[in-house]
């Protein structure tokens, strides 16, 4: 039986998504670690199926300003990948790559902004590379698109994109830990329902 909604997933299916998530985030952490030349660990990812308000509250508050890099998936899996991070995370990257952070997102210069977009893109691509190898699918990725804006407005993008199918987001998230400090970056993989069914089927756990 195919899933109609994200919340129809049973515990075993959620576990499988968590497992794939941890492989993906592991690779993403390695990529970030190489970029920053610092040891980066990740916490075990959590997989949750959340409504819009819950997803916003999990990350922060609706008016909080965050940076976001979005990539559209196509090919065998359709959906979105979204990487969100706060100013602290951005500064960690900028201090390493540009030797200079910023006090506020509004002060970001063009080059610093591009550096952040690229960092986000690398994290997303390494996640997807690991994912495609493990699940055995081909995923095409669009060029990254980025914004620095209110968290609530950013999360309405996937919510509206799938709004005719569901009110929920499947949220696979892990925290990055650098030198004992937690970095607030959120990696969200958002396959559409058809693709989620396909993933579960390929892994032999579909109901």
């Amino acid at each position: 039986m195919k899933l109609r909604y994200y919340e129809d997933m049973n515990l075993q299916e959620l576990d499988v998504m968590k497992e794939i998530g941890s492989i993906g985030t592991g690779h993403a952490a390695t990529a970030l670690s190489m970029m920053l030349q610092k040891e980066i660990r990740i916490t075990l990812p959590e997989v949750s199926v959340l409504g819009y308000e819950e997803a916003v509250n999990r990350i922060g508050n609706p008016e909080e300003i965050v940076a976001a890099v979005l990539v559209k998936m196509g090919g065998d899996i359709d959906g979105l990948m979204l990487f969100l991070f706060d100013l602290d995370f951005a500064n960690t990257i900028l201090e390493k790559l540009m030797r200079k952070g910023c006090q506020e997102f509004s002060e970001l210069g063009e080059i610093a902004y591009s550096a952040l977009v690229e960092a986000g893109n690398i994290i997303i691509c390494s996640y997807i590379n690991a994912f495609t190898q493990f699940v055995g699918v081909d995923i095409g990725l669009s060029v990254p698109s980025a914004t620095i804006n209110m968290l609530g407005g950013i999360l309405t993008v996937p919510i509206a994109e799938y709004g005719y199918e569901t009110d929920k987001l499947m949220y696979i998230n892990a925290d990055f830990v650098m030198e004992g400090r937690m970095l607030s970056g959120w990696l969200l993989m958002l396959p559409d329902i058809r693709s989620l069914n396909d993933i579960l089927e390929r892994l032999g756990v579909a109901k």
Partner: protein, 160 residues
């Protein structure tokens, strides 16, 4: 403390006399403020999609067409008169631009067009709007005056 009502996504709140109704961080969604100045009755609706078709979803406020009509229905029960009611809208942004995929993220535009169309059909006045762009908006309706404030990141607050 002054009364403040919060409106979530796909939701509507109404009140009368005084206080404020607020909805946060509208992206491609549209916030729609209704205000009848004579009886100081106001409502704020937060829609997400243009039209309810081919779905059995009973959340009417999620869609522009059913949401606006249901809000009009509720407000009328509280004494709203269409001809003296003013409407202001905000939102309908395109948060991300994906090159080579011009269709992606156009939902904001479709939302705005649909909202305008429904008000035209209903014969109601859309007096002000702040729509489009690439940024999120927080919208506040002041029930005492009917004024609408729009808050964004990195831009001055505007009054509709």
């Amino acid at each position: 403390m002054e009364k403040e009502l919060k409106v979530g996504i796909g939701d509507m709140k109404l009140t009368r006399g005084e206080g404020r109704i607020i909805t946060y961080a509208l992206g491609s969604c549209i916030g729609i403020a209704f205000y009848d100045p004579v009886i100081r009755l106001g409502a704020l609706l937060h829609i997400m999609l243009p039209a309810r078709f081919g779905t059995d979803d009973n959340n009417v406020y999620k869609y522009a067409d059913t949401g606006i009509r249901e809000t009009i229905h509720k407000l009328t029960a509280f004494g709203m008169v269409k001809s003296r009611t003013v409407v202001k809208i905000a939102g309908g942004a395109k948060m991300f631009e994906i090159s080579g995929n011009s269709d992606f993220g156009n939902i904001g535009l479709h939302n705005r067009d649909r909202v305008r169309q429904v008000f035209a059909e209903e014969g109601m006045r859309l007096v002000a709007e702040d729509t489009g762009g690439t940024y999120a908006r927080t919208m506040v309706l002041d029930i005492a005056t009917g004024g609408v404030l729009i808050r964004t990141f990195g831009r001055a607050e505007i009054k509709l």
